[in-house]
Symmetry: C2
């Protein structure tokens, strides 16, 4: 993290070109907000990452993930993210050759427990454990990004 | 980048706990949108980065920056960012001990040229070159994030 202190000016003429380098072409864009992509900072034990996911409904989404320093993740969570934060404990287990992740939520989402399985293709077959309940893949209320603005305690 | 294919379920009972690991605590948040922080993907020559800046007015802002693979930056620009993209050529030059960056915009912002200087403190003194015009640090129209939705050609 840095504090950026920058001043910006218009130009009076082209005289700056004599002293300038050859220039670098840049192309940049901005994420428009949660309607197109969700951008998440997560602290997971002692590590942290930044995750960008397309906001499509359903079970298939574009995903990018980058590690970030723990201290910077804390600064982003405290200063730049929307509150309240989503808190949960994630448990992993293997059943019939697939890894399941069970998220037990805390804070404003206490009482909510969901199980997730990551699959190689959309129509991959997998065996359902006895403890598994109703599928909610297509219900946007269960998106973690939704749990910030509309937590389980308000359902 | 990955395509994430994930299915999510509610749980019927606590029987999954017998097979699960000890669990990992997670705390996560989401960027709320451009009113609090701007999140930018930039391709600069052959490299690319993800940049997160607090959306405060004025010359002092929190900033985080992380390198990302070029191909992933292209995927994010094409698929997840708001269009049109901001295109510009950045020239660097040194004047009186400080580096200036002059951005010559193209596309919908063609005609706009701004010079920026990064300073160690908010009240750092610096010598103004003759080619420097009016200061626009406090004018949000000149923020690159604003140039997407309200480009120079519409001013």
């Amino acid at each position: 993290m840095g504090i950026e202190i920058e001043r910006k000016f218009l130009l009076r003429n082209d005289d700056w070109r004599a002293a300038a380098d050859a220039g670098t072409r840049m192309r940049q864009g901005y994420f428009a907000g949660p309607q197109r992509a969700s951008i998440r900072v997560r602290i997971e034990g002692e590590s942290a990452n930044l995750n960008i996911k397309s906001a499509e409904l359903g079970i298939r989404r574009l995903e990018f993930e980058y590690p970030v320093p723990l201290v910077e993740a804390e600064q982003m969570l405290d200063g730049l993210c929307e509150g309240p934060l989503v808190e949960k404990t994630r448990y992993r287990l293997v059943y019939a050759g697939f890894t399941w992740e069970v998220d037990v939520f805390a804070g404003d989402n206490a009482g909510l427990v969901v199980a997730e399985i990551e699959l190689p293709t959309e129509d991959s077959a997998f065996e359902k454990p006895d403890w598994l309940g109703e599928e909610v893949s297509a219900d946007p209320r269960y998106y973690n990004v939704s749990l910030v603005t509309h937590p389980y305690c308000d359902w």
